[in-house]
Amino acid sequence: MTIEIKTSTLEPVRLTFANLERRFGNKPASRYQEATYDVQAETNFHYRPLWQPDKELNDRSRTAVVMADWYELKDPRQYYYGAYVQQRARMQEQAENNYAFFEKRDLARHLPDAIKASLIRHLIPLRHVEHTANLNNVYGSAYGYGTAITQALLFDGMDRLGIAQYLSRIGLILDGNTGESLAEAKQLWMNDPLWQGMRALCEKTLVVEDWFETFVAQDLVIDTLVQELVYVQYDQWLAEQGAQDVAMLTEFMRDWYADTSRWADAVLKVVAAESEANRTLVSQWLHRWRGCAAEALAPLANELAAGSASLDAALAALDKRAAKAGI
């Protein structure tokens, strides 16, 4: 038997906001749609930025990519703020359980010294790469166009700060909260030949002006290669060395990548499909940054997993991802 709860229904005057009615017809809108479409100011800006007088405050020309409607770049995950934080809260709860278990059972004690040294040398310096990713995504959020893409870039930017903090916590677990491992990893980041190519690459992405190029360099090229080399191949090697417990501490990064690449791929696909000019542009950027990143990561790939890591496999994963997005 179904019971129908009686509520008094009043006839609404309209089902949604007028901008959503223009876009999708007169029907109830989702919370994602209400929170996203046309929220950013479009016209009648009062003053030019003192810091960039050749542009309007919100200006499509901060990238060479051209879109008739930037709201085409919708997020398949439908993240607005509330949906985003609730999804990440679930992920962090899982991560917190993992970290708590790792620390409670003192699993770091079971790691051979060589593995600990490898984590400090090969994994912990990535916190600086994540910090760069934070800045690069916030860059797109600040100078990009249309709430659909700019909010997703901010979510990604904050994710990367979170990942940098998780990586730092791994360091603190290894050094018993002294911070010595973080200092050592920073020294490697600053001085060791292993990391100089990567550091130069990070610095290079931070001076790129076109925000969509930054997005391609960071969220497509660098992220795919780092994910494949470190969180897939290195992870596998650690497991083979009996250090599979470390995977508990990096599970967040793999879950995050599965979630975020789904969004980034959808964005790239729509941009490339918009016009031949966009496709060419994005391909050129992909090509340029693929070359730089392969060179920058070569020393790490050579050393990672005792030389068993394969940069070629990582590059193949990148090419596959790009091809799927139509680039």
Partner: protein, 500 residues
């Protein structure tokens, strides 16, 4: 080996503060190019004290809990026709003004903090700004979701972002935030984090949210409570910004003082719509604008500026004028909207007799003398079927963009006019404060997109005012505008109440 315990400060420092590095391969100035042009000197970013030490995992967790509770209330409100619980349908007009005037500023705050959250050279300051950025995105989105229910049953909410970009009185809040975002990064922080969030925010937030509480608007008041802990973080950022800038270099003091003066005045002009909302638009009153000003600025702000005196910072310029204006601005603003009620996207009305008495009681020195006679006249005319509508386009102040409606404080019957000449053109202002701001940066303010000018230049369609209101502003004429009396909002409300 037992791991040593870390206190929150050290842990946050290790997790966050050491992520950045000195560049070797690129010019760091190219990565952070906007730090120098305002003349502010930062000698050592590491002296930045993190105003709140929230790591991302904790942020996700706390904020998700808050969002879950908030949306449960929104859902309940829409299931139970929560819009029927407001005190009086006139109240709804206050939140129309909020959605079209204030929520888009939350969005601009998100954008502005993303900009400075990318640009500052110090990682501590950047991360604090990024967190405020994402909070501000939260605020605009939760506000839209709270108002979504009202949009379904009342007029005037339906095209809020379109209106914000175009409607004459909405250029007041829009130009305020455009001004802040187009400024350099340090001025932005002094403008928004300090002058607005820290000094004046209680005068926006408390009136609107208490107004919602006193008038049965569950969705808005729940949003307000939920945002309070975010606002508390934003205020601590505002204070840290000011202390940091003042402690970094003595040369910063004069620059910061100039910005405080400017943004205090700009903020006060913006707040005149809040004053009007409190005194005239809330059927159940919270307190008068004058009382709010005394509690939240004169007492709280007075103590703050006493504290800042040790850095060489004094009370904002023109604070003495604002103290006099608290007796007048709300009355002058609502009268203007009442007489331009055909061109407003919300309803206006004559206060009830009981409300007129309340105003007389709250403003014993000014209301009966200057303002009550106007309303008595308006009542008489309305009863004769001659409701006042002023059809001339108002002249706007070139800085704050409010119509010339404010009077001389020495002579409250006399409209204040100021004129400056710049490169052969004349520019008009409502006050010494606005004129002074223009004269400090004329190149900026000659760019103002003044709605009345734009209409005259034919940039807003037309030719007649109703065409502009309908086609350019997207007003539903006869529904969104005009008097509350006889409006579709009022008719529907009466129908619902009959059914209930």
């Amino acid at each position: 080996m037992a791991a040593k315990k870390l206190n929150l400060k050290d842990k946050y420092k290790l997790l966050t503060r050491d992520l950045d590095w000195e560049f070797s391969y690129e010019d760091r100035k190219k990565a952070f190019p906007y730090e120098d042009f305002e003349g502010i000197k930062i000698n050592d970013w590491s002296k930045w004290e993190d105003p709140f030490r929230l790591t991302m995992d904790a942020y996700w967790k706390y904020q998700a809990e808050k969002e879950k509770k908030l949306y449960a209330i929104f859902d309940a409100s829409s299931q139970h026709n929560g819009h029927l619980n407001v005190s009086d349908p006139r109240y709804i007009n206050a939140i129309k003004l909020f959605l079209t005037g204030i929520s888009p500023l939350e969005y601009q705050a998100y954008q502005g903090f993303a900009h400075v959250g990318r640009q500052f050279g110090g990682v501590g300051a950047r991360v604090a700004c990024q967190m405020q950025s994402i909070d501000e995105l939260r605020h605009v989105q939760t506000q839209v979701h709270a108002m979504s229910q009202y949009n379904k049953y009342f007029d005037g909410f339906h095209d809020w972002t379109h209106m914000h970009d175009r409607v004459w009185y909405l250029s007041v809040p829009k130009s305020f935030f455009d001004d802040a975002r187009t400024s350099g990064p340090f001025e932005f922080l002094v403008a928004i984090s300090f002058s607005f969030e820290y000094v004046l925010t209680n005068l926006v937030f408390v009136p609107f949210m208490s107004g919602a509480a006193h008038n049965g608007d569950m969705a808005t008041v729940t949003f307000g409570f939920s945002a309070q802990s975010d606002e508390a973080r934003h205020m601590t950022l505002g204070l840290e910004v000011i202390k940091f800038l003042l402690e970094q270099d003595e040369g910063n003091v004069a620059i910061v003082q100039k910005w405080i003066d400017k943004w205090f005045w700009r903020g006060c002009r913006l707040l005149s719509i809040v004053g009007m909302m409190m005194d005239y638009m809330l059927p159940n009153k919270v307190m008068s604008w004058k009382e709010a000003w005394e509690v939240y600025f004169e007492e709280a702000g007075g103590a703050l500026f006493k504290d800042l005196a040790r850095y060489g910072i004094r009370m904002p310029q023109y604070a003495d004028i604002v103290e006099k204006e608290k007796e007048h601005v709300s009355h002058q603003a609502w009268w203007t909207f009442y007489t331009y009620g055909h061109a407003a996207g919300f309803h206006t009305w004559i206060p009830t007799d009981a409300e007129l008495d309340w105003l007389s009681e709250k403003y014993p020195d000014t209301f009966d003398k200057y303002y009550r006679p106007r309303w008595e006249l308006a009542k008489k005319l309305e009863s004769e079927g001659k409701r006042i509508y002023n059809n001339a386009l108002p002249q706007l102040c070139n800085t704050c963009q409010i119509p010339m409606l404010f009077t001389e404080m020495s002579e409250p019957g006399q409209i204040a006019y100021r004129v400056s000449e710049y490169k052969g053109d004349k520019y008009h202002f409502c006050s010494d404060g606005c004129q002074h701001i223009f004269e400090e940066e004329p190149e900026k303010y000659v760019q103002s997109w003044l709605p009345a000018h734009q209409i005259y230049m034919g940039n807003c369609g037309g030719p007649d005012v109703p065409d502009i209101l309908r086609d350019y502003y997207h007003f539903n004429l006869g529904a969104d505008n005009l008097d509350m009396k006889g409006s579709p909002d009022e008719q529907r409300w009466n129908e619902w109440k009959k059914q209930g």
